[in-house]
């Protein structure tokens, strides 16, 4: 049995409470993704979300935690240039020997089991309406069994990115207490890789290359999902700050304030940008702005002031709103849920902002911005090619994209045999002007 330092009961109870809020983020993202997809794929989207979370939890507990580990546990270290590079954990499979009490390590296992589900759900929204059910589960298993645990070890498990501060004098090492890069960067970049592999939905681009608007089927789901996700993020950022940032429970008030301010600033800027660009606010892009703000807040929410959180949120809103349009119009990335913008783009910006601003409250940490750049370079330069390669191989083994009949009928009928709204019928006279 591996012993860990045990927290006080108050700290452990607060951390457990925060962690148990995280499934609300999962529910919120599932609802948002569902609303942004088509009516005829709605049941498929929700069932796929549930199965992704199930696969992620099982695979992560079976093998994922073995690669990820926890700081201070046994790992594989390579000595390069006389310096230790901690590459991967060496923990037993199925949590064998893991003490499950109120130790930080066991609380981290609980948090990660939920967090890996969030990461695995992100590509689902980007490849909605055309990604086969079996392929979704297989891709989620690969992410929760390898891609996520490897990067999470580097950041949260005592790996080399967390140690660039100690070894190379770069601030406190790579800073990402709530998972802006570890959860959302990995998930968002995997979403981009999957969209590249699977291609755009049939009919998304006209013959002259212009994108055709395919609106989400239920914007009430989208916005309510954002509100649910907010509650989940308060838990995610609080638990992450305590477990991976060493923040005392007294700092959780600041976490709640900053998380909310960042999301608020981001969504309002997305409303304003879409009002300026399209003449009216766009609900789906504004919802993406809200999610993007939550994501960007995750990098260092307990280490920035409320004013800085607002600034980070304002920039995030602009970035998300413009990148949704850019990706769709100029780069032909058909991402119905806006996952690449609201998770990858916002996550990378959050990490950069943490490097720029987090030192202000932590009495200055020279080189922190460089540590953040090294982390961002690792996500883009290593995680993206790796996740693309893994999904490319999987696509060769089990074809990712549904047949054209499936896309025409909708994923509900084609893969599940029944629609989400069996009593829902559109009558032609509904459209006759009275």
């Amino acid at each position: 049995m591996q012993q860990s330092p045990v927290w006080s009961e108050i700290s452990a109870a607060l951390c457990v409470f925060s962690i148990l809020l995280v499934p609300l983020a999962v529910a919120g993202l599932a609802l948002t993704n569902n609303g942004l997809g088509k009516t005829r794929s709605a049941a498929h989207a929700m069932l796929a979300s549930m199965c992704v979370v199930a696969v992620a939890a099982l695979v992560y507990i079976a093998i994922g935690f073995s690669w990820e580990g926890f700081a201070g546990r046994s790992t594989h270290v390579a000595i390069i240039g006389g310096k230790p590079w901690d590459w991967i954990a060496a923990q037993p499979l199925f949590l064998r020997g893991q003490e499950l009490s109120n130790s930080p390590a066991s609380l981290a296992v609980l948090l990660q089991m939920f967090a890996v589900g969030i990461a695995a759900m992100i590509p689902l929204s980007a490849a909605a309406d055309r990604w086969r059910f079996g392929a979704i589960c297989a891709s989620s298993a690969v992410m929760s069994g390898w891609t996520y645990p490897l990067f999470a070890h580097w950041v949260w498990g005592g790996g080399w990115l967390s140690q660039v501060g100690v070894i190379y004098g770069l601030g406190r090492g790579f800073l990402d207490t709530g998972g802006a890069g570890t959860i959302h960067g990995v998930g968002g970049l995997t979403a981009l890789a999957v969209v590249w592999i699977i291609g755009p939905r049939t009919g998304k681009y006209s013959e002259d290359g212009m994108p055709v608007g395919i609106p989400g089927h239920n914007l009430v789901h989208v916005v309510f999902g954002c509100i649910l996700a907010w509650a989940g993020w308060l838990g995610l950022n609080s638990a992450g700050a305590m477990l991976f940032g060493g923040i005392p429970p007294t700092a959780l008030v600041l976490v709640g304030i900053n998380t909310t301010l960042c999301a608020a600033g981001s969504s309002l800027v997305a409303v304003i940008v879409t009002k300026i660009r399209f003449g009216r606010p766009d609900a789906s892009i504004s919802a993406n702005g809200w999610i993007g703000g939550l994501v960007a807040s995750s990098a260092a929410t307990a280490m920035i002031s409320p004013a800085v959180a607002i600034i980070i949120g304002l920039v995030t809103g602009g970035l998300v709103a413009l990148s949704v349009e850019w990706l769709e119009m100029y780069l032909r990335v058909d991402d119905p849920g806006g996952a690449v913008s609201s998770h990858a783009v916002a996550g990378l910006w959050g990490l950069l902002a943490a490097g720029m601003f987090a030192g202000i409250r932590t009495a200055g940490a020279p080189g922190q911005w460089l540590a953040q750049l090294v982390g961002i370079a690792t996500l883009v330069g290593f995680v993206l090619p790796m996740t693309y390669s893994l999904n490319w191989v999987l696509n060769r083994l089990i074809h990712y994209r549904v047949e054209s009949d499936g896309e025409r009928q909708g994923m509900d009928l084609y893969e599940l045999g029944a629609g989400a709204y069996p009593e829902f019928m559109v009558h032609s006279d509904d459209f006759i002007q009275r």
Partner: protein
């Protein structure tokens, strides 16, 4: 084009790692990290371009 883009992404990352390992002065280390990231951006542009061409051909 796409494989070259991914190779550039990896090359940029290796340059960042090499800068950490081989350079001690803060300025030169920062310059090389930024150079590595610039190479990654080039790689990303190539992969996006390859995706653009592929979807145009498929249409």
């Amino acid at each position: 084009m796409r494989p070259i883009g991914f190779l550039l992404l990896l090359a940029g990352w290796f340059l960042v790692l090499a800068a950490l390992e081989m350079l001690n002065a803060a300025t030169s280390r920062a310059i090389f990290v930024l150079a590595g990231m610039a190479i990654e951006i080039l790689g990303l542009m190539l992969v996006f371009r390859a995706n653009l061409i592929q979807t145009e051909v498929e249409d």
